[in-house]
């Protein structure tokens, strides 16, 4: 393999890569979004019910240990092929990092602040929105960041249940022993992950409350 033939493949297959990229983004985004919508509220709930917290986090941890290909396999008989089972599987992977960070972020808020807030006459809703969530937000964002990078990576396997994405190109390259084609799928997938990681890192910095930044 040489550089020129890789570039040729890349240019020739550009429309295919672009479509695959779109599919990839769609799969990743939708699953992350659903993952956030489930995990953040769930994390808030279990931070109030510490007795079941370990149990709930434990369940998501078990999901995490299932090999991704096997998880796709499990979902196949129930949901068939296509993007639905892929999104469900990816969403399941995104749960643990977001849930755990939401929980630790909220539980990690200094108890004396909660006491002070309560003693000053804040309702539990005000304590959540004005104290706990703002202070936990950087930690929650870090969880979302981990989940995003993870999902973009795992989404390359979605091709095996016919959900498309950059995995399609990689798989096609592998089965035709075409290294250039493998890279034409792998490089955009890697760049995508790095790109979103740095964007989310920026967001993480923005949501970190000003008063906390100056401490370091």
């Amino acid at each position: 393999m040489d550089w020129n033939s890789f570039l040729d493949t890349f240019i020739n297959r550009w429309p295919t890569i672009l479509t695959a990229l779109q599919e990839h983004l769609y799969l990743s985004f939708v699953s992350i979004l659903i993952g956030i919508l489930i995990s953040v509220p769930l994390g808030i709930i279990i931070s109030r019910l510490k007795k079941i917290a370990e149990f709930v986090i434990g369940i998501t941890a078990v999901f995490q240990t299932i090999p991704s290909l096997a998880l796709f396999g499990f979902l196949l008989p129930v949901f068939g092929i296509g993007s639905t089972p892929a999104i469900i599987a990816l969403m399941i992977y995104a749960l643990l990092p977001i849930l755990r960070n939401t929980y630790t972020g909220i539980v990690g808020v200094d108890d004396s602040l909660i006491q002070a807030g309560k003693g000053m006459g804040m309702t539990s809703g005000q304590i959540l929105w004005k104290i706990e969530l703002p202070l936990a937000l950087p930690v929650i964002m870090a969880g979302i960041r981990t989940a995003t990078v993870l999902t973009i990576g795992v989404a390359t396997l979605a091709t095996f249940i016919g959900a498309g994405g950059l995995g399609d190109i990689i798989y096609r390259g592998l089965s035709t022993m075409n290294n250039e084609l493998v890279l034409a799928g792998a490089v955009p997938a890697a760049l995508l992950a790095i790109f979103f990681d740095s964007i989310l890192k920026g967001i993480e910095r923005i949501v970190t409350p000003k008063g906390l930044k100056k401490q370091d």
């Binding site: 004396s112 000053m120 409350p209």
Partner: protein
């Protein structure tokens, strides 16, 4: 203003934190609740703003049973200062102080003015500090904000839970002084929990001494010092604060035990050096056994300073008045009254053990600790 009627508290684990407490805090009064850890003082306080609920009995604030009030509304009318300060790190000083007024629906210009006024009150320039974050302030400054945050919505009652105990000794003293001055102006009803007797004596209108879930004694500081209710209170106050033993006070409790001394065979330059080090204008001369020989005074030393052959023993003067450690304070007062003396050496046999000055005598009689 605040009234406890036969209040008891038993925690779910069976620990009885409070046993039948009766307590009345008058309007505008600062009552400190003091006792060893686990005595129930913090429990007592937390029941006033319903952070804890009594197992039995009633608590009235302003004549109203707090059980019938919404805890959130109740707390917004009771200022609360905690030991850990508890300023919200993600909010500016202004946002922290304005929190309760905002929750109570004050118009913006009113609470902004209030924040400025309060910052001025504790000597922090609003222009400088308003937009800062808590982490940019020193511990003492942070707790000043903690105190004014509690006062922000003009609550008639303020609860303070060991507010100064985490601060360094200098800030602590300053904040105590400021609180006393502040209280002169604002006349709030304050319940102040502490474990520091000096603090309690300094700031309290009345002190409630607690032990084992009971109030052992509730009285003015002076009364507690003069008439401690029992052995526990006496021990808690500590011997040196007890005025009642005034009649028995001897030289030992009135003297400074750290004395600048010089040996008789030393040169004058050396003696001068010692005076400079200790910032004193006279030195006690003692021999190697510690026995008192005389006194060396600065004017005499200066007069002979040029003569390098002179030693301390050549120019020291005898002392007309010295006392023994067991000498009664009345005899010492006699000496100060009748003779022109600045200091009186205290001897144990022949050995010099201390020195009484007029100020050390005053401190000793007042039951204060000697600073050196």
């Amino acid at each position: 203003m605040i009234e406890f009627k036969q209040v008891s508290k038993t925690f779910p684990d069976g620990f009885q934190a409070l046993k039948n407490i009766n307590l009345h805090v008058n309007k505008g009064e600062l009552v400190t609740v003091i006792g060893p850890s686990g005595c129930g003082k913090t429990t007592t306080m937390k029941m006033i703003n319903r952070l804890l609920e009594p197992s039995s009995g009633q608590i009235l604030v302003d004549g109203e049973n707090i059980k019938n009030q919404n805890p959130v509304q109740l707390r917004r009318n009771i200022g609360y200062v905690i030991q850990q300060i508890g300023l919200f790190p993600h909010m500016t000083i202004e946002e922290n102080v304005a929190l309760v007024p905002k929750m109570k629906g004050w118009p913006k210009d009113k609470y902004i003015r209030r924040v400025d006024g309060l910052l001025d009150l504790v000597g922090l320039d609003p222009k400088v500090f308003k937009k800062r974050y808590p982490s940019e302030l020193s511990g003492g400054q942070q707790q000043r904000i903690g105190v004014i945050r509690a006062l922000a919505a003009e609550p008639p009652v303020v609860l303070m839970d060991e507010p100064f105990s985490a601060l360094d000794p200098i800030s602590r003293e300053q904040l105590q002084d400021e609180l006393v001055a502040l209280q002169d102006n604002i006349q709030k009803t304050i319940v102040f929990v502490t474990h520091d007797m000096d603090e309690a004596l300094k700031i309290a209108d009345r002190i409630a001494i607690m032990d084992n879930g009971e109030i052992i004694q509730l009285a003015k500081p002076d009364q507690i010092l003069r008439h401690p209710a029992n052995q526990f209170v006496e021990d808690f106050i500590g011997e040196e604060r007890m005025n009642k033993e005034l009649g028995g006070k001897t030289a030992k409790s009135l003297m400074l035990s750290k004395v600048a001394t010089v040996k008789p065979n030393r040169g004058l330059a050396e003696a001068l050096q010692i005076m400079k080090t200790y910032s004193v204008d006279s030195l006690m001369v003692t021999n190697t056994k510690g026995e008192f020989q005389g006194i060396l005074e600065l004017p005499i030393l200066e007069a002979h300073y040029r003569d390098e052959s002179k030693k301390v023993e050549d120019i020291m003067s005898p002392v007309a008045h010295s006392v023994q450690v067991e000498t009664n304070y009345t005899d010492i007062a006699e000496i100060f009254a009748k003779h022109q003396v600045v200091t009186i050496p205290v001897l144990d046999g022949g050995r010099l053990v201390g020195l009484i000055t007029r100020s050390s005598m005053m401190r000793g009689l007042a039951g204060m600790k000697q600073t050196v």
